[in-house]
């Protein structure tokens, strides 16, 4: 029991330590207190804004956009990766898009998205979809392409139909790679939505941050950052749990 406590303290001591250093720096007056409000001030704003629903509302908007774009990218990207891995024609057609497109900073295209889809939610979801599509497709492609042909032959030999092979052999074998891709794409989705909200919007956590930072009220900015960090952490943990539930061969599951 004491070992467990020591282990827990050993793992998490840095956060209270950093908060203490933060508080010490503020109360000693060595940093500008407008720029770095004290810990209780931030906590007070955080709880007040959660209780009156403002942060909850903006977080809901941001998460809704991020998860929609993410879900669309997963729904389109995983089948596309499977088809690319199985058909030479499709691979030849789509490979250059992912080959050349991967290193291009796609954020540069965001102004075009705002012209086509407007400034609101649709342009953010469409752009998140594009940003998430790349890691999802590229990573799951390797999962689908790396399946040992022997497994498929063996299943076919036992008289399994195409569908059975897909659902019972190919998909389970590619699942670790698919989850690895999703885990890369999820923080990308959150980052991209907040970023585009900061560039221009009237709702969402990104908007909240940009408004309060132009008013130099940094306790609200830090409160919003804490909310984003908590959301990202929780969503990542959910994905890890889902992965543990679906992926049974523990040795090649992403950790």
């Amino acid at each position: 029991m004491t070992g467990q406590i020591r282990n827990f303290v050993g793992r998490w001591y840095s956060i209270p330590l950093l908060l203490a250093a933060w508080q010490l720096a503020v109360s000693s007056g060595s940093v500008n207190s407008r720029l770095l409000p004290s810990v209780p001030q931030v906590a007070e704003v955080l709880f007040a804004e959660i209780r009156n629903g403002v942060l909850v509302y903006h977080a809901g908007v941001t998460l809704g956009r991020a998860l929609s774009g993410f879900a669309l990218a997963a729904a389109a990207g995983i089948p596309l990766a499977a088809v690319m891995a199985r058909s030479t024609l499709c691979r030849n057609l789509f490979e250059p898009i992912f080959f050349f497109g991967y290193p291009i900073p796609k954020i540069a295209l965001f102004p075009i998205f705002t012209y086509i889809f407007g400034f609101g939610t649709p342009s953010k979801i469409a752009f998140t979809f594009l940003e998430c599509l790349y890691p999802v497709v590229v990573t799951s492609y390797f999962g689908f392409a790396g399946i040992q042909t022997r497994l498929i032959w063996a299943a076919r030999n036992f008289g399994a139909s195409q569908w059975t092979v897909l659902w019972r052999v190919i998909l389970p074998a590619a699942l670790p790679a698919i989850f690895a891709g999703l885990r890369i794409a999820l923080p990308v989705a959150i980052i991209v939505v907040v970023l585009t909200e900061m560039i221009g919007d009237s709702i969402g956590l990104g908007y909240y941050i940009s408004v309060w930072s132009t008013r130099f009220t940094f306790q609200n900015v830090y409160a919003a950052i804490i909310v984003i960090g908590a959301c990202g952490f929780v969503l990542d943990q959910i994905l890890v749990r889902l992965c543990g539930y679906f992926v049974h061969q523990g040795h090649n599951a992403p950790r």
């Binding site: 998490w12 080959f99 540069a108 959150i190 980052i191 907040v194 940094f218 990202g232 952490f233």
Partner: protein
């Protein structure tokens, strides 16, 4: 000369898109904000000729490279230390797992006030966001180095610096480069947003100016320049990686995303 069908298929989709874009643009079927390819190239040429583009490219490139270099060096140093020393790892792990999904651009206001609106704030925010992917990759790389390699070298009497530079770093190098690549991509994303939100110079400003003046050909030209810059930087990094990892297994990702 016969062209292989795979090559034709490779170029089919991109060429078809550009061709349709050009044709519909010339027929004036597209909305005015979608300049077509030949307009964009002409705008790119005129921007390059009057010196506006080279200036903006130089400013953006300086910021991105300085930020990338600083953030990567810090991320690699701390990441390797975290991989080697349990205490360091336990100190940074909770902080990184919390901050990883936070858009680092959210800290831009803080950087702007601390470092001003010029280059230092951009370099700072780029370095800050490059730190995290490199930290995660370096920590993981050091932890996953085969211990038997280290034992074998230590057994043959290799001193600690030799172990570090001749065994540990080469064994970790492929994963380190994977981290560099992710952080380079982050560097361009953050720089773009930082220049769009608060800056007086750089490619992001050129894009915003084109948009404000409703000169969409100029906007697209600057976007194209930004995309080319990101693409070429990634290629250079990959070329360096290929040279430095000569003789090691580069991994399977070579075929598509390398």
């Amino acid at each position: 000369m016969r062209v292989r069908p795979a090559v034709i298929q490779h170029w089919l989709v991109p060429l078809a898109v550009v061709a349709c874009w050009e044709v519909f643009g010339r027929l004036a079927e597209l909305p005015p904000y979608l300049s077509y390819p030949s307009q964009i190239l002409a705008a790119l040429w005129s921007l390059a000729a009057d010196g506006e583009l080279p200036g903006a490219v130089a400013v953006s490139l300086y910021r991105v490279l300085a930020g990338f270099a600083l953030g990567t060096a810090a991320g690699m140093g701390v990441g390797i230390a975290a991989g080697l020393v349990t205490g360091v790892r336990h100190f940074f792990d909770p902080l990184v797992s919390f901050l990883f999904a936070v858009p680092k651009i959210a800290f831009l206001p803080v950087f702007l006030i601390l470092l001003g609106i010029g280059d230092p704030s951009k370099i700072g925010i780029v370095a800050f966001s490059c730190f995290f992917p490199v930290f995660v990759a370096s920590r993981q790389a050091v932890l996953s180095v085969n211990k038997r390699l280290l034992w074998a070298a230590a057994n043959m009497g290799a001193p600690r610096p030799t172990l570090f530079f001749r065994v540990l770093i080469p064994a970790a190098a492929p994963q380190l480069f994977a981290g560099f690549r992710i952080s380079l991509a982050h560097a361009f994303i953050v720089l773009f947003a930082a220049e769009l939100i608060g800056s007086h110079s750089g490619l992001g400003v050129l894009i915003a100016d084109g948009e404000d003046a409703a000169r969409f050909d100029l906007m697209f030209a600057a976007i194209l320049a930004f995309a080319i810059l990101g693409f070429v930087s990634d290629r250079i990094l990959m070329a360096i990686r290929k040279r430095m990892l000569k003789g090691t297994a580069l991994g399977t990702e070579e075929t598509i995303a390398a």
